[in-house]
């Protein structure tokens, strides 16, 4: 038996190699260099380089790490390029809004940048993985650095507590997840997603159980009810920049893998998972939005809001079981979610004058008088999160609802519209506090150049998506995963 080396083309995974390599390089650099600014700029440069390389791969379909007579382990197609761009942009956004914050809260340590780069690599791998083993490894690569990042504020008990909670529930969920993968391997004897698709028969009990376990694991990662309990605690306890990073990155990456695994490997069982996902989506929408009504801490409120947004995204995933164009609406929604959430967290960070202070709703009283620009930006982000036209949030929801109706999920679309109305109450309450009250706050608002740049990008993105969604939807539509292509290699 002679050994046949697999076909490897490293150019295809170049964005991953850049971010991961930069992370390793920073670890080495940490021995010699103690100046914090260096790490910031190097990280920014690495992410920008990865973004350029990533965008250059648009329009092609590649596979790499192809063992003989097998499917590629890693693929790069429009779907993964689109998602990687969102993820890398979320990395840039996090860096921009974190610059001043990390400095003034004395959290600026090289570890932050390294862990972020490693986590980003894992997130990108989630969308590119074409093999269940790799999905699991990517999931861990994205999660483990995030556990540490959540506990970055070592001086604060709540940060450490949130890190521990995140870790315990995250490890638990990945245990369930990998058990599901093992069952699917048992049912099909294959781990590559197209190979699973080729062998899988509908109604196999082993595969059915495996799919259910997979779904539980994914639901944990994206924060869907009934596995959402960690989300508000971790969002509240983690340093706000980390919260911003994981609210976009971890969620987008979770949906990336969810979409690819379910639409490429498991369409044979779409009847089963479509119904289950629709049910989870409905529960997530209702519980996320209703509990958010009672929050007075803005980070916790955004935590519940992110649960609710997972619900809207899940509608699109469930609809994708019927017709694959729904994937496009999910992608568009994620783009809108990226800009809006990053912007909202940017404002929260500007107001958090000390670590863990200035994050209550009360602190937003009279912000319109103290800082009209910041509150105008917050107004746009809150409108976008609610889904009021002409903002990105509205465009995202419009396409999601349309795909739900096309998939005959009328009841789900109606629940989603009703919960959107409910969500207006807690989002607009922030606006109400900013504009209708006279505040007596005197704490400074920290809006440095980097943060302003970040907010400006988020604002432009939100409004652009709101005014001209059609072009963006075309783009997202082109990124829909092609039918289970990617032939066996040599």
């Amino acid at each position: 038996m002679d050994f046949q080396p697999p076909i490897i083309n490293l150019l295809i995974v170049a964005p991953l190699l850049i971010t991961m390599g930069a992370g390793l390089f920073l670890m080495l650099l940490n021995i010699f260099c103690k100046r914090d600014g260096v790490y910031y700029w190097l990280t920014l440069a690495a992410i920008a380089a990865a973004l350029v390389q990533n965008v250059a791969m648009w329009g092609h379909e590649y596979g790499t790490f192809i063992a003989r007579g097998s499917y590629p382990m890693v693929v790069s197609d429009n779907f993964s390029v689109f998602l990687n761009s969102i993820l890398l942009l979320s990395g840039i956004g996090t860096l921009l809004i974190s610059r001043n914050y990390l400095h003034r809260t004395k959290l600026e340590r090289p570890e932050f940048y390294m862990l972020m780069l490693f986590s980003l690599s894992g997130m990108m791998m989630m969308g590119m993985a074409n093999d269940l083993i790799l999905v699991f490894v990517a999931l861990e690569l994205l999660s483990i650095p995030l556990y540490i990042m959540a506990g970055l504020a070592v001086s604060r008990d709540d940060s450490k507590e949130s890190a521990m909670k995140y870790f315990l529930l995250g490890a638990f969920s990945s245990g369930i997840f990998v058990y599901g993968i093992a069952l699917i391997y048992g049912a099909t004897g294959a781990t590559a997603l197209p190979a699973v698709y080729a062998v899988l028969e509908a109604g196999s009990p082993l595969a059915m159980a495996g799919t259910a376990f997979l779904m539980v694991g994914f639901a944990f990662k994206i924060g869907a009810v009934p596995f959402h309990m960690w989300t508000p605690d971790v969002y509240e306890g983690a340093p706000t920049v980390v919260t911003a990073f994981m609210s976009v990155g971890a969620k987008v990456a979770g949906f990336a893998a969810l979409l690819r695994v379910f639409t490429v490997a498991l369409p044979a069982m779409s009847d089963a998972w479509m119904g289950a996902l629709a049910l989870i989506a409905a529960l997530t929408l209702i519980i996320g939005n209703v509990v958010a009504l009672m929050q007075t801490n803005i980070k916790r409120m955004l935590g519940y809001s992110s649960i609710a947004h997972a619900g809207y995204l899940l509608i699109g995933v469930a609809a994708a079981g019927q017709h694959s164009e729904a994937v496009g609406s999910v992608l568009l929604y994620m783009l809108a979610y990226l800009f809006t959430t990053m912007g909202a967290f940017g404002v929260v960070i500007a107001l958090e004058h000390k670590l863990g202070e200035g994050i209550m709703l009360e602190d937003y009283k009279g912000l319109a008088k103290r800082n009209p620009w910041l509150s105008a930006a917050m107004l746009v982000f809150m409108l976008s999160l609610t889904g009021v036209p002409p903002t990105g949030g509205f465009s995202g929801k419009f396409y999601i609802f349309r795909s739900a109706v096309e998939a005959n999920l009328w009841w789900l679309a109606i629940i989603a519209i009703m919960t959107s109305v409910v969500s207006g109450y807690y989002y607009l309450r922030v606006v109400f506090y900013m504009y209708m009250f006279d505040g007596d706050r005197t704490e400074p608002v920290y809006a440095g150049t980097a943060l302003k740049t970040g907010l400006l990008i988020a604002l432009v993105g939100t409004l652009w998506l709101g005014f001209f969604p059609a072009g963006w939807f075309e783009l997202a539509y082109k990124a829909v995963i092609g039918t289970t292509q990617l032939l066996a290699g040599g």
């Binding site: 507590e161 890190a163 315990l168 245990g175 069952l183 391997y185 916790r300």
Partner: protein
Amino acid sequence: MIPMSWYLIFSAALFAIGLYGVMARRNAIAILMSVELLLNAVNINLVTFWRYRTPDRSVGLAWAVFVLAVAAAEAAVGLALIISVYRNRDSVIAEELDLLRN
């Protein structure tokens, strides 16, 4: 030869014990141990399926090694986090760590 189902039942039992441990135990270390049980149940499953389903391809075996490595990384990070919480709070009991509650 022992039938495949025996191994699968054993693995499922191990998984159930782990699941029960995560739900019922309050000590963070015990929860971590239960998570390790989950991962070990997975490994038994993987090796069993490899042996009985695809003995000519080493996918399942290689995969079990991946799961082991991930479990080790998780334990390293997890124990560090638990120790750092214990230093401040003198407790790793999940119910006593309730700063984050509404």
